[in-house]
C-alpha cells in the first residue's frame, strides 16, 4: 500500500515526460503536417497554405496532376518491381540459408553464422565503388548482362545481397524456435530435406515470413542509394531518384509538387507501418539485439 501511494504522488507525474517528448518531436510533427498540407496547396508560408497572390487559402488538387503523367506510373512500376523481387529474393535466399544454419550440421556452419552476424554490422556503403566494378564485370558476361550495370536486375541483386545478413539471421531465429520433433519424424519417414523445408517448416514460420516481407518491401520501395548509383538510365529509374531529380533541379523548386510525389511514395509505407508496426519493431530490434 505504501508503494502505491508513493507512485501516486510521484512528483514528476506523467505530464513532464509527456511535455518533453512533445517538444523533442516538434520537427517531426511539423514536417509531416507540412507534407500533407502542402500537397493540397498552391504554395505554403511556413505551415499556412497560400494562393498565387500570396493570400492565405489557395487549396488545390493541381499538385496531384502528376498522377496523369505516364512517366510517373512507369517509375512507380519500376519501384514496385524492385520492391517485390527484392522481397521474394530475400525471403527465398535467407529462408533457405536460415534453415541450413538452424538444422543441418555442415563444415563451415559456424563460420558462416559468425560472418552473417558480423556482416549485419558491416556497412555495405563502403563497398559501393567496388560493387560498381562487380556489376561492370557482370555486364560483360553473356546471358548475365541483365544483372549488370545500369539494369534493374543488377540493382535488385545488390539490394538482395545487402539485406541478406539480417534476413538470414532472422530466419535462422524463427527456425530455431520451432520444435525439431515434427521435422525429424518426417525425415525419418523418408521425406527429403527440401520437402521438409517447404511443406513442414515454412508454414510454421508464417508470421516471421510476413514480417520480413513487409520489412523488405519497405526497404525496396524506399531505396535510393543503390538505384541512384547503379542505374543512370532514366527509363529504369525509380520514384526515389525521380524525386531527387526534382529536388536538385536548378530552377526554383516547386515544393508543393515535389511534396505530392513524396506523399505518393510515402503512403504505402505508412499504410504497412500502421498495420505491422509491432512486427517491424521486432525486426528493427531483433536483428541487432546481439550482445545485449
Amino acid at each position: 500500500m505504501i508503494a502505491v501511494s508513493k507512485i501516486r504522488t510521484f512528483p514528476w507525474g506523467k505530464v513532464v515526460p509527456f511535455t518533453i517528448l512533445l517538444i523533442f518531436s516538434i520537427p517531426l510533427i511539423l514536417g509531416i503536417y507540412w507534407i500533407i498540407i502542402s500537397t493540397f496547396s498552391v504554395s505554403t508560408r511556413g505551415l499556412i497554405p497560400i494562393d498565387s497572390a500570396g493570400n492565405p487559402g489557395g487549396l488545390t488538387l493541381a499538385n496531384w496532376s502528376f498522377l496523369k503523367d505516364p512517366e510517373v506510373w512507369r517509375l512507380t512500376w519500376n519501384t514496385f518491381v524492385l520492391a517485390t523481387t527484392l522481397t521474394f529474393g530475400v525471403l527465398l535466399v535467407s529462408s533457405m540459408a536460415g534453415y541450413a544454419l538452424s538444422r543441418i550440421n555442415f563444415k563451415g556452419r559456424k563460420t558462416f553464422l559468425g560472418s552473417t552476424m558480423v556482416l549485419q554490422a558491416f556497412p555495405a556503403t563502403t563497398l559501393l565503388i567496388a560493387t560498381y566494378f562487380v556489376l561492370r564485370f557482370i555486364s560483360g558476361v553473356p546471358l548475365l548482362s541483365v544483372f549488370g550495370y545500369d539494369t534493374l536486375g543488377g540493382v535488385i541483386l545488390v539490394s538482395i545481397a545487402t539485406q541478406l545478413p539480417l534476413g538470414i539471421w532472422l530466419m535462422k531465429g524463427f527456425f530455431d524456435a520451432i520444435p525439431w520433433d515434427l521435422e525429424r519424424a518426417a525425415l525419418i519417414d523418408g521425406c527429403s530435406r527440401w520437402r521438409t523445408f517447404r511443406q513442414i517448416l515454412l508454414p510454421q514460420i508464417r508470421p516471421g515470413i510476413a514480417a520480413l516481407s513487409v520489412f523488405s518491401f519497405i526497404i525496396g520501395w524506399s531505396s535510393f542509394l543503390i538505384p541512384y548509383s547503379f542505374m543512370t538510365n532514366q527509363d529504369t529509374a525509380v520514384i526515389s531518384t525521380y524525386i531527387n531529380r526534382l529536388m536538385q533541379d536548378t530552377a526554383p523548386v516547386n515544393y508543393s509538387t515535389v511534396a505530392a510525389v513524396g506523399l505518393f511514395q510515402l503512403i504505402p509505407v505508412i499504410f504497412f507501418f500502421i498495420f505491422t508496426q509491432k512486427y517491424l519493431l521486432a525486426i528493427f530490434a531483433g536483428g541487432m539485439k546481439g550482445g545485449s
Binding site: 506523467k14 509527456f18 523533442f24 520537427p27 505554403t44 559468425g114 562487380v134 523418408g190 515535389v258
Partner: protein
C-alpha cells in the same frame, strides 16, 4: 535437388541411426540450401572487399579506363596523408560522428526510451512509433521535409514559426549552419535505433527493483543514475559502437541534403564522389578505393571488436542441429 527414393533415404537416415550422431538427409543437402546465399555474399561482399584493396594499388581512373592502368604500389595510400583536403574531411567527419552520436543516436535515444517507459503504455508506444517514421520514410522524402523545415523565410517552417516572431536571422538554415543541419537530419533517424534497443532493455529491468527505488524515495534522476544506466550498460555500449561505425560510413542523407557543399563532405562522401559520382564525370578509382579502403579497415576492426566484446561467438553455439 532431385528427389530421392525411399531406399536411399532410409539408407541415409533411419537405418543408420545412432544417437548423438545421426545423419539425416543427403550429405550435400546443405550446399543446396546455402548455395544462393554463399554466392551472393561472395559476389557482393567478399569480392568487393578484395577489389577495393587491389584497385587501391593501381592508378586506374576515367583517364586510364579499365585497360590502360598500371600498378603504382602504395602511392594512393600515401596520397591520402599528403592530400591537402584530407584534414578537412577528417575534421568534418569527426564533428559529424561525435555530435550526432552523443546528442542523438545515444543521448536522445536514451531520453526517449526513458520517457516513453514512464508514461502510459499506449502513449509511449505512440511516441516510439512517431520516432520510427524517419527511419521508414523514403530517404528523399525525409530530406525534402527537412529542406522545407529549414528553408528561408517566408517559406521555411522553423523560420516562420520560431525565428521570425523572435526577430532572429531567417536565412536558409542548411547553408547558414551546415553542420547543425547534417547532425539534426541524421540524428532524427539515428535516435530510433537506440530508442528501440534501450526500451526493451529498460522494460526487462525487474519491476521489483524499479519499485524498490521508488519506495526508497529515489527521484527520477537518482533512479536513472543508479538503476537504469547500470542495468542497460551492455546495450548502451553496443548502440554506441554500432552507431559509431554506421555514422562513419554513412553519407546518403548528407549527399541528398548538401551533396558535400558548405564543407559537409564527410570522408565516405568524398570517396563516393571521387569514385562513383561527381559533377565532372572524372573518376579516380585508384584513389577512391584507397579512401574507401580506410573505411573498410575501420569496419573490419569494429566487426572484430564486436565478436570479442559482445560475445557474439557465444550466441552462435546453441542451435538445433541434428545431434539428437
Amino acid at each position: 535437388m532431385g528427389l530421392k527414393t525411399v531406399e536411399e533415404i532410409s539408407a541415409d537416415s533411419a537405418f543408420s541411426f545412432t544417437p548423438g550422431k545421426s545423419k539425416l538427409g543427403n550429405k550435400y543437402d546443405w550446399l543446396i540450401f546455402m548455395g544462393p546465399a554463399m554466392l551472393l555474399v561472395g559476389v557482393f561482399f567478399i569480392a568487393p572487399v578484395i577489389i577495393v584493396f587491389i584497385i587501391s594499388f593501381t592508378d586506374m581512373s576515367s583517364l586510364t579506363g579499365f585497360s590502360n592502368w598500371s600498378w603504382i604500389g602504395f602511392d594512393n595510400w600515401i596520397k591520402i596523408f599528403t592530400h591537402p583536403q584530407s584534414s578537412q574531411h577528417v575534421g568534418v567527419t569527426v564533428i559529424y560522428v561525435f555530435f550526432t552520436l552523443v546528442f542523438f543516436n545515444v543521448g536522445l535515444a536514451l531520453v526517449l526510451s526513458i520517457l516513453t517507459t514512464h508514461i502510459p503504455k499506449a502513449a509511449g508506444f505512440a511516441f516510439r512509433a512517431l520516432w520510427l517514421i524517419p527511419r521508414i520514410t523514403p530517404v528523399v522524402v525525409y530530406i525534402m521535409m527537412w529542406r522545407y523545415l529549414m528553408a528561408d523565410s517566408p517559406y521555411g517552417i522553423f523560420n516562420e514559426i520560431f525565428f521570425r516572431p523572435l526577430g532572429l536571422d531567417t536565412s536558409e538554415m542548411v547553408s547558414a549552419h551546415p553542420y547543425i543541419a547534417i547532425i539534426l537530419v541524421n540524428g532524427f533517424i539515428g535516435a530510433s535505433f537506440g530508442m528501440i534497443i534501450f526500451t526493451s532493455a529498460i522494460e526487462s529491468i525487474s519491476k521489483d527493483m524499479m519499485n524498490a527505488s521508488l519506495v526508497d524515495g529515489a527521484n527520477i534522476m537518482q533512479r536513472i543514475r543508479h538503476i537504469i544506466i547500470p542495468q542497460i550498460k551492455w546495450p548502451l555500449m553496443f548502440v554506441t559502437t554500432f552507431q559509431t561505425l554506421s555514422l562513419i560510413t554513412s553519407f546518403e542523407q548528407i549527399m541528398i541534403l548538401t551533396d558535400g557543399a558548405y564543407g559537409t563532405e564527410v570522408w565516405s562522401l568524398w570517396a563516393y564522389h571521387k569514385g562513383l559520382n561527381n559533377y565532372f564525370g572524372q573518376f579516380q578509382w585508384g584513389f577512391a578505393m584507397a579512401l574507401a579502403g580506410i573505411l573498410v579497415i575501420i569496419s573490419i576492426v569494429f566487426c572484430i571488436a564486436y565478436l570479442k566484446f559482445f560475445k557474439f561467438s557465444d550466441m552462435i553455439q546453441e542451435p538445433k542441429i541434428e545431434t539428437l
